[in-house]
C-alpha cells in the first residue's frame, strides 16, 4: 500500500480549502452586490422621495400664492371698494325721473290688453296731434319735476 505523501495530502486539502474559499468569496461578493444594489435602490428611492418632497413643497407654495392672489382679487372687487371707486369716478345712484301722466294711471293691470296700454307721458285715449302735444308737455313737466324732489304725496300717519 503506497502511503500518501504529505505533499499530496496537503495539495488535496489545499484544493478543497480553495473551493470553500471560493464559495465564501462568492457569497461575500453576492452579499456585497446585493447590499450595493440595495444601497443604489435606496439612494434612488431617497433621491426620488426628496424630489417629491421638494415638488410638493413647491406645489404647496404655489397653492398658497394662488390663495393670496385670490384674496387680493376678492378684496379689490368687494362691493365696498368698487362703490367707493365708482364714487371717485363720479358715479352716483340714479335719481329716478318719473314721467307725469296727465290722466289717472290705469290701475286695473290684470285686464289691460296691449292695445289699451300707452307709453308713459301720454294719456290713454288721446289721439294724433293731441297725444303728441300732451307728450311734449308731459316731458317738460317730467323734466321740471325731476329737479323737484318734493314729488311725494304726503299723508297723515297710519299704523
Amino acid at each position: 500500500v503506497a502511503s500518501q505523501s504529505p505533499s499530496g495530502a496537503f495539495q488535496r486539502k489545499r484544493r478543497s480549502l480553495s473551493s470553500g474559499q471560493v464559495f465564501v468569496v462568492a457569497l461575500v461578493v453576492l452579499v456585497i452586490l446585493f447590499l450595493w444594489l440595495h444601497l443604489i435602490l435606496a439612494l434612488g428611492i431617497e433621491a426620488t422621495g426628496r424630489q417629491i418632497q421638494i415638488k410638493t413643497a413647491e406645489l404647496e407654495k404655489t397653492r398658497r400664492q394662488i390663495l393670496a392672489r385670490e384674496q387680493e382679487a376678492a378684496q379689490a372687487r368687494s362691493q365696498e371698494i368698487l362703490a367707493s371707486r365708482a364714487r371717485e369716478l363720479g358715479y352716483q345712484p340714479q335719481v329716478p325721473i318719473y314721467l307725469l301722466l296727465l290722466g289717472p294711471a290705469d290701475q286695473s293691470t290684470s285686464d289691460v290688453g296691449a292695445e289699451e296700454s300707452h307709453p308713459p307721458g301720454t294719456v290713454a285715449g288721446a289721439t294724433g296731434a293731441e297725444a303728441s302735444a300732451l307728450e311734449t308737455l308731459s316731458l317738460w313737466v317730467a323734466l321740471a319735476q325731476s329737479l323737484d324732489t318734493s314729488m311725494e304725496i304726503e299723508t297723515g300717519p297710519m299704523p
Binding site: 340714479q94 307709453p119 299704523p159
Partner: protein, 564 residues
C-alpha cells in the same frame, strides 16, 4: 480577576439585554414606533361661499403659525444673532423677545401666530433649522360686514357658526384625512411612501341666492333710514315670492366677520331669523287672508265701527281711538282699523282663525337654511296661557311674536297666488369631483310647503293691498308701478305692559303687484323721528324698491303690460 471582571460585565450586559428584549420589549417598541411613526392629519380646504353672480363672500386664506425648537437652532453666535434679527424684522417682534425664545431651554416654543402670508413665506424662505412654519387655513370675508349675518363666521377650530356657515357647516367643512409617515429623529418626514393614507374630502362650495348688489342697496338704504329716523336697529329682507329665494338679508348694527372676536356677541345672532317681535298691523294681511279665504268676509262686507270692540273681556281700540262708522272690509284694511281686524278674527271662530295662522307657518320654523332660526311664539286655544281676548289682539299682530323671516314668507304666499314657499338662501351646492372630474353641481329647486289660501283670495287681497299703498301708505308708492303692501307700527311689550312711546315700525310690500318680482320687509326698531311705519318704514321701502326696479330692469307697469 480579569476573568471575573469579564464574566461580571457579560452578566450585566446579558441582564440588560434580557430586560430590554423580554420585559420592556413592548414598551420600548411602542416608544420607538411613536418616535418614528407620525400620523399627520390632513385638513381639507373649506368650501367657498359665493353670491348668485359668483362674487366671493367667504374664502380661505393662509396664516402662519411660527414656532421654535431652540435646541435645533444654530449654535454659531453670529448666525444666531442674524436669525434673531431677521425674525424680529419679519414678524415685527421686539428683538429681546425673539432672542429669549431662541435661547429658551424648552423643547418647543411658539413664537408668533396669525402671521400674514407675506411675512410667513419670508420666514419659510429663511430655511433656518429649528424654525417651524405651519400654514393654517383661515376664513376670509372680502365683503366684510355686508353679508355678516347671512354668511356667519368660522371659529379657530374651523367650525362654522351662525348664518350659512353654521347651518351648512358639515357640508362646507368636508372630511379630514390622514397620512401615516416615518420621520427621522429630528422630526423631518422621510422621503418614503406613506405607510398608510386616507385622502381628505374637500368641502362643498355654496352658491347663494343672495345678490351682493341687492344686499348693498338694502344695507345702504337701511343705514340711511336708521340715521334719518334715529332708529336703534333695523332689518331688511328681500325675497323672490315665486321661489322663496332670499335676495338680500340685512340687519344693522352689524359686525365684521373677519374680526368677529372684537364684536359685541349680541350682534352675532341674525335678527332676521333669531329675533322675534310683535308684528303689529302688517299682521292684518294674514287676518284678512284668513277671513277672505274662509268666506267669512268679502271686500265689501260692512261693519259698524264704534272705535272700540270688546273681545274676551278686553276692549280693542283703533290706533287713533276714533270710530269710523260704517266701513267695508276694504276700508278697514286701508285705514288699518284694529276693531275691524278683531271683528274678522272673532267672526271666523278661533279654530279656523288659528288654523289659518298655522297654514301661514306661524309658530313653527320656516326651515330656512340659516343657523339659529327661532319659531316665534304663538299661543293656541287650549294652551294654559291663552285667553279669549287674544283672538282679538292677535288679529292685528299683538300678543303674537314672529320672526322677520316668518312674516315675509307668509306675505309671500299672498304674492305667490296663495302658495307658501320654503325660503332658501343656497342656490347650488358645488361638490368638488374626483381628480380630473368636473365638480358635481346640485341645484336647489323651489319647494312648495302648502297652499295657504286660494288663488282667488290671494288676488283679491293683493288688490286690497294695492289700495292700502295707493290711499294709505302713500310714501311707499313708486310712480309707474303698482305696489301691494301694508305698514305696521307695533308697540313693544315690556315686563310692565307696553312701552308708552317706543315702537317697531315696519312695512312689507311686493311689486309689481300683478307679477311680483320681489317682496321687501323693512323693520325699524324704535324710530325716534316718527313712531309710525307709514312715515319711516314705508319711505325706506320706496327707496329700496326704486333702486330694485332699476337693478332688476323691471319696466314701469304700462310698458311691461304693453309688451305682453
Amino acid at each position: 480577576m480579569l476573568a471575573f471582571c469579564l464574566t461580571f460585565g457579560l452578566a450585566v450586559i446579558l441582564t440588560r439585554l434580557v430586560q430590554y428584549q423580554v420585559f420592556d420589549h413592548e414598551q420600548l417598541e411602542t416608544q420607538a414606533i411613536d418616535q418614528r411613526i407620525y400620523t399627520r392629519e390632513l385638513v381639507p380646504p373649506r368650501g367657498y361661499i359665493v353670491d348668485l353672480n359668483g362674487h366671493v363672500l367667504a374664502m380661505n386664506v393662509i396664516h402662519w403659525d411660527i414656532s421654535v425648537s431652540p435646541a435645533l437652532v444654530t449654535t454659531q453666535a453670529k448666525e444666531r444673532r442674524q436669525l434673531a434679527n431677521d425674525l424680529a424684522t419679519l414678524l415685527e417682534l421686539p428683538m429681546d423677545v425673539v432672542s429669549a425664545t431662541l435661547n429658551s431651554s424648552e423643547l418647543w416654543v411658539p413664537l408668533a401666530t396669525h402671521v400674514d402670508y407675506q411675512a410667513g413665506e419670508a420666514v419659510e424662505d429663511l430655511g433656518a433649522d429649528g424654525i417651524m412654519c405651519e400654514p393654517q387655513f383661515h376664513r376670509f370675508y372680502p365683503e366684510r360686514d355686508l353679508v355678516a349675518h347671512a354668511v356667519g363666521i368660522v371659529n379657530e377650530t374651523g367650525t362654522g357658526y351662525y348664518g350659512v356657515e353654521g347651518y351648512s357647516n358639515i357640508i362646507l367643512r368636508g372630511s379630514n384625512g390622514y397620512r401615516i409617515v416615518e420621520r427621522n429623529p429630528v422630526g423631518d418626514e422621510l422621503p418614503l411612501l406613506p405607510l398608510s393614507e386616507s385622502l381628505p374630502e374637500p368641502g362643498t362650495s355654496l352658491r347663494l341666492t343672495l345678490d351682493r348688489s341687492i344686499q348693498y342697496i338694502a344695507q345702504q338704504e337701511l343705514r340711511r333710514a336708521l340715521e334719518q329716523f334715529s332708529a336703534d336697529s333695523g332689518t331688511v329682507l328681500i325675497m323672490e315670492p315665486r321661489t322663496g329665494a332670499i335676495l338680500a338679508l340685512v340687519s344693522l348694527p352689524t359686525y365684521d366677520p373677519n374680526n368677529y372676536a372684537d364684536a359685541d356677541p349680541h350682534l352675532l345672532d341674525d335678527p332676521s331669523v333669531s329675533m322675534m317681535w310683535e308684528p303689529g298691523s302688517i299682521f292684518k294681511i294674514i287676518t284678512w287672508a284668513a277671513g277672505l279665504d274662509s268666506g267669512t268676509i268679502s271686500p265689501g262686507t260692512t261693519f259698524y265701527d264704534e272705535g272700540a270692540l270688546e273681545v274676551g273681556g278686553r276692549v280693542i281700540r283703533n290706533w287713533d281711538r276714533k270710530g269710523y262708522g260704517m266701513v267695508t272690509m276694504r276700508d278697514g284694511l286701508v285705514k288699518s282699523l284694529n276693531t275691524v281686524a278683531s271683528f274678522v278674527s272673532t267672526s271666523m271662530g278661533k279654530e279656523r282663525f288659528y288654523t289659518y295662522l298655522r297654514r301661514f307657518g306661524f309658530g313653527t320654523l320656516t326651515d330656512v337654511d340659516l343657523a339659529g332660526e327661532g319659531p316665534g311664539m304663538m299661543k293656541l286655544p287650549g294652551d294654559s296661557d291663552w285667553f279669549p281676548s287674544e283672538q282679538g289682539t292677535n288679529s292685528f299682530g299683538q300678543g303674537i311674536a314672529v320672526t322677520p323671516m316668518q312674516m315675509i314668507v307668509a306675505v309671500s304666499a299672498v304674492a305667490n297666488e296663495g302658495m307658501l314657499m320654503k325660503p332658501h338662501i343656497v342656490h347650488q351646492y358645488v361638490a368638488p369631483g374626483a381628480e380630473g372630474e368636473e365638480p358635481r353641481i346640485i341645484h336647489v329647486d323651489p319647494m312648495v310647503v302648502r297652499r295657504a289660501v286660494s288663488t282667488q283670495t290671494a288676488e283679491t287681497l293683493t288688490q286690497l293691498l294695492v289700495d292700502v299703498v295707493t290711499e294709505g301708505a302713500t310714501k311707499a308708492q313708486v310712480p309707474g308701478y303698482r305696489i301691494a303692501g301694508k305698514t305696521g307700527t307695533a308697540q313693544i311689550p315690556t315686563a310692565y305692559g307696553y312701552h308708552p312711546t317706543d315702537t317697531i315700525a315696519s312695512f312689507v310690500g311686493f311689486a309689481p303687484a300683478d307679477d311680483p318680482q320681489f317682496i321687501v320687509l323693512v323693520k325699524l326698531d324704535r324710530p325716534r323721528e316718527s313712531p309710525w311705519g307709514s312715515q319711516t318704514a314705508a319711505p325706506t321701502f320706496r327707496a329700496i324698491a326704486e333702486r330694485l326696479f332699476v337693478y332688476l330692469q323691471i319696466p314701469p307697469d304700462e310698458i311691461r303690460l304693453a309688451q305682453r
